[in-house]
């Protein structure tokens, strides 16, 4: 089906979220909708899906104007939507979830019975009553899931419980849900935000299949690489307006500039690292996971002042547990030395005081309190230190003044420091955390997924701030599952796989080799007879860490620090 949006305008008070947006999506086309957070992408799609009513403009499907006043109308018109946050019932099976709201129903009936000479005929409810009381036809639900699953390569078991499925599969369930309702125009709202690189590839394969079978797909994203990889056409919107339509072979730089409205540095420029002594020394750190098994298995590494160590790995290989253990949020064995002082037994507060800045992976959950003001969030882990507090008494005026300064320095876009942090966009929330953690003198900065879900402009900002810290002599650990980020920042790359560091490599290691390491192709104890890598490469990897250290030439490095 052909979809056309004509002059769609949506205002919220004085703010124009969508300003006369025109867009045509042909059948069998993957159209990317590219824009920064807050550009109006989601608003536009909510208009298309009937969640919002446009103030002006019309929607045409196959050149006929349609009125979409609710998601039900949208589904009726053949539009399906997969939201950023899935709308699934965790304790239901896949089949139950996809048929929810459109359950296949058969007539309620009691089977016929013959007892001796008495014959009770089959009793069934009149057909007219079936709409309000019928039998759930689970078999039909399962069969349709299986059939769709096979046709498009979803690989989804209709009987699996949704809560047991990985995120990537849950997303496929959402897609099946839309397809079962005969959606021929699919809207995917930031579908890759929650996916690992591998899952993203799987999703793209499915998207191509759907396109080839004639579905139109609108793919909302702010990630340039993904858009270039999958889209047939790219529509860029900025501040509610369509600013350009481009083919997918448009350069990164051009797309980024279109999105942000100015030229953007996609990769921060950084000088060579000037290394000083070891700031963080981790020896034989093991961390139990949620289920009693070890999530981190005897990891050892060190980070020197003025160096960024990137910890690369696919999500869920122990990174979360590693960071939490380093912050004292999770019990662990082994030793952690900060500037030669053993902090293995220190509480989180003591570690913060000792000079660790921490940007947690989950900013909504761990980094911020949504219901607190920006000012309060800016002191969330320093609230009890001068000048913000003297003894038990807090100094609201000092907190407010510092907040005003930080908001200016770190370009947090907020109407006031007394605005609630939860009302800020993701990028601005992250800037609040970055401002809080980087504005005090640190010895070590531990940043986990520091730019997840951020747009190009914010990524540029956060990256340059992190490099600035490095240049001031802070030891930096970046944990990321985004290869771009690892390459952009790292002076050394440690690869984590199943809770172990399987290699420490130089920052110029080719992407496919890094990918192989992240996929566990070479594990630490199998380096010699590694299957995926040529042996010299594996050798190199093992050697690299000391090599990098030597470059800076602070004399021979102490290989084994005594870890009493």
């Amino acid at each position: 089906m052909k979809l056309e949006l004509r002059g769609i305008t949506k205002r919220f008070g004085s703010l124009v979220a969508n300003d006369h947006i025109d867009m045509v999506v042909q059948p069998g086309e993957i159209r990317a909708l590219l824009g920064e957070n807050g550009a109006g992408k989601t608003t536009l799609m909510n208009v298309l899906y009937g969640l919002l009513q446009p103030d002006e403009g019309e929607i045409l499907i196959d050149d006929r104007p349609v009125h979409i006043r609710s998601p039900k109308d949208a589904i009726g018109a053949g539009v399906g939507m997969v939201h950023q946050h899935f709308m699934l019932v965790p304790v239901f099976t896949v089949a139950e979830n996809v048929t929810l709201g459109a359950e296949p129903i058969s007539r309620l009936a009691l089977p016929g019975l013959t007892v001796g000479s008495l014959h009770v005929p089959r009793l069934s409810l009149p057909a007219a009553a079936t709409s309000w009381l019928g039998m759930l036809d689970r078999r039909r639900a399962r069969a349709s899931v299986r059939e769709l699953s096979e046709r498009f390569g979803f690989r989804v078991d209709p009987d699996a419980f949704v809560e047991d499925l990985p995120v990537g599969v849950q997303q496929r369930v959402e897609i099946i849900k839309a397809l079962l309702r005969d959606a021929s125009i699919l809207v995917l709202d930031e579908p890759t935000a929650v996916l690992t690189p591998g899952e993203t590839e799987d999703l793209f394969a499915i998207m191509r299949q759907l396109r080839d079978s004639g579905h139109s797909i609108i793919f909302i994203s702010h990630k340039l690489r993904e858009v270039q990889a999958i889209a047939d056409n790219i529509t860029v919107i900025r501040r509610g307006k369509v600013v350009a339509e481009r083919p997918p072979d448009t350069s990164d730089a051009e797309l980024a500039a279109l999105m942000v409205g100015r030229s953007v540095q996609l990769r921060v420029s950084k000088a060579a690292a000037s290394l000083a002594g070891v700031a963080l020394d981790v020896r034989d750190l093991s961390v139990p996971g949620e289920h009693g098994d070890l999530a981190v298995r005897s990891i050892s590494f060190d980070v020197r002042r003025g160096e960024i160590l990137g910890i690369a790995g696919v999500q869920g290989n122990g990174q979360t547990e590693l960071c939490e253990a380093l912050m004292g949020l999770r019990p662990a064995t082994g030793s952690v030395l900060l500037d030669g002082q053993d902090i293995s037994a220190a509480t989180t507060k003591e570690r913060l005081h000792a000079g660790i800045g921490y940007i947690p992976e989950d900013r909504q959950e761990d980094g911020l309190v949504a219901g607190f003001t920006v000012a309060d969030n800016l002191v969330l882990d320093v609230y009890d230190r001068p000048p913000y507090a003297a003894g038990i008494a807090m100094k609201p005026e000092a907190i407010r003044k510092a907040a005003v300064e930080l908001v200016g320095d770190y370009d947090v876009r907020t109407s006031s420091v007394l605005t609630l942090a939860g009302t800020l966009s993701g990028g601005n929330q992250q800037k609040v955390i970055v401002a809080r953690e980087l504005s005090r003198p640190n010895k070590l900065l531990l940043a986990s997924q520091p730019t997840r879900g951020l747009d190009v402009g914010s990524i540029e900002f956060v990256h340059s701030e992190i490099v600035k810290q490095r240049d001031q002599g802070v030891a930096v650990v970046i944990v990321s599952s985004e290869l771009d980020e690892i390459y952009a920042l790292s002076d050394r790359i440690a690869v984590i796989y199943e809770g172990k560091i399987v290699g420490i490599c130089p920052p110029d290691i080719p992407e496919h080799e890094l990918g192989l390491l992240m996929a566990g192709a070479a594990t630490a104890d199998a380096q010699g007879d590694s299957t995926g890598l040529r042996p010299p490469a594996a050798e190199e990897l093992l050697q690299t860490a000391p090599l990098v250290a030597d470059e800076a030439g602070p004399g021979p490095r102490v290989e084994e620090l005594p870890s009493e």
Binding site: G38, E365, M394, S415
Partner: protein, 444 residues
């Protein structure tokens, strides 16, 4: 002190971001986010049209009074008879209805707040003090409610739902009573010792709950509910055994009167006066307000309440906060008992605890877990209690005093369902009045 909020370099993207975050996520904070420069009138209008939490509360009280009026009508046989001839004499039926309802509410007002006849009497040489008699009764009734309300509210701000104010009340009452009759001390000191004892008695019970939660993860709602029964039975045991708390030569569950030295004095001359207990309650509210907004401990409580994981990441000892806040909550409930035992009753009986605990929950809810709100809510409930008794007497039992319990229930019901109020008064729907968080907190 500069009042100017930070000017965003470019306000448009910020606003756009807020919208993109979803209209539903915009916090409702007309107070702090409103630039001071704006006209107060505009702010007021916005508060009314969008239904700020204060407006919702006032409308909820109004709606409860309307529904209460319907109940008064139904409980009055004269009016119901008048209604049977509604179609033949509609004016009569409506007039009777108005008379019944307005009489009941006028009586309630006169009993609880101000009786105009005492004013005119005072003008003609009568007692001036009599004017303040209703208000002083209201304050006396409000005192324990404010304190148990604070107990629930402070725990709530740290994310804990303290159902156990009743049990902690008993803990405080037992210690205050024992110190009250069992020890002999000079006047002022005896009062203070009893108050501290009550705080400790309640605090220990609260502390135990906090400890269980911190150490074992036991849910405070379950623990406090169960501890309430333990405390009720403990009280019953203590009051029915000679040598414990039972009054000598008594078979009833009743304790001796506390020493007169331990009685909370009144200020303001001959009755009616304001009890010291009320001043203690107000001081406690101010103390809690200061603790929550101006101290690191309060900041920790609020952070733990808003997001335990963010608190932990920020280096806050979440478990320690739980224990501490439950200790304070228990102490406040204990103080509530002290104001009753040392103030109005001067004697502990098996049912002294009344409904102070559960009422504390509704007071805290109505006051939105804010100390000032709790004081106001406590005063409202105190006034309703006094007015209820008064109206029952004035109508010779026609309007039962229990009507005020219905009113209390309705007010809380309407406050807890802001959508209902919005629909009734056609307020523009905006997100968040603060109650959603409270509602979420019930089973958090």
């Amino acid at each position: 002190m500069s009042e100017t909020p930070v000017a965003a370099p470019d306000p448009v993207p910020a606003a756009a971001d807020a919208v993109a975050a979803g209209p539903g996520q915009r916090g409702d904070s007309p107070g702090p986010a409103t630039p001071r420069g704006r006209l107060t009138g505009a702010v007021l209008i916005q508060a009314i049209t969008q239904g700020s939490s204060a407006v919702i509360t006032i409308l909820a009280i109004f709606l409860a009074l309307v529904v209460g009026g319907v109940l008064i009508v139904f409980s009055d046989p004269v009016v119901t008879r008048a209604w049977s001839s509604l179609f033949t004499h509609p004016g009569y039926a409506l007039g009777q209805t108005w008379d019944a309802v307005s009489f009941a509410y006028t009586q309630m007002f006169e009993g609880a707040i101000l009786n105009p006849s005492t004013v005119s009497a005072a003008l003609h040489g009568g007692s001036v003090a009599a004017i303040f008699y209703p208000l002083s009764s209201t304050c006396a009734q409000a005192t324990p409610l404010i304190l148990t309300g604070l107990s629930v509210a402070i725990a709530f701000r740290a994310g804990l739902f303290n159902i156990g104010a009743a049990g902690q009340w008993v803990g405080g009452a037992v210690v205050a009573t024992w110190l009250g009759f069992g020890v002999s001390l000079p006047p002022v000191i005896h009062v203070i010792v009893c108050l501290i004892g009550a705080f400790v008695g309640g605090g220990v019970i609260g502390w135990f709950v906090g400890l269980l939660k911190a150490r074992t993860g036991a849910h405070e709602v379950i623990v406090t509910i169960m501890l309430n029964y333990v405390m009720y039975d403990l009280l019953s045991y203590l009051l029915s055994h000679q040598g414990m708390l039972q009054k000598p030569k008594q078979t009833n569950q009743i304790a001796p009167f506390i020493a007169s030295n331990a009685n909370l004095p009144h200020v303001g001359g001959p009755p009616p006066q304001v009890g010291i207990g009320f001043l203690i309650a107000v001081a406690a509210a101010l103390g809690v307000a200061w603790l929550l907004s101006r101290t690191t401990t309060g900041f920790e409580f609020r952070t733990v309440g808003a997001s335990p994981s963010a608190a932990r990441t920020g280096g806050i000892n979440v478990e320690r906060s739980w224990v501490l806040v439950m200790l304070l909550a228990g102490g406040l409930a204990g103080l509530s008992a002290a104001t009753v035992i040392q103030g109005t009753n001067t004697q502990l009986t098996f049912n002294s605890y009344g409904t102070y605990g559960p009422d504390g929950i509704t007071v805290a809810l109505l006051g939105r877990a804010k100390p000032i709100g709790v004081v106001l809510a406590g005063l409202l409930f105190g006034a309703l209690h006094v007015g209820g008794t008064y109206v029952e007497a004035a109508t010779l039992g026609q309007v039962p005093a229990n009507i005020v319990q219905v009113l209390e229930g309705l007010i809380v019901l309407f406050v807890a369902a802001p959508a209902l109020i919005r629909a009734t008064f056609r307020l523009r729907a905006t997100a968040g009045t603060g109650m959603e968080a409270v509602a979420k907190g019930w089973n958090a």
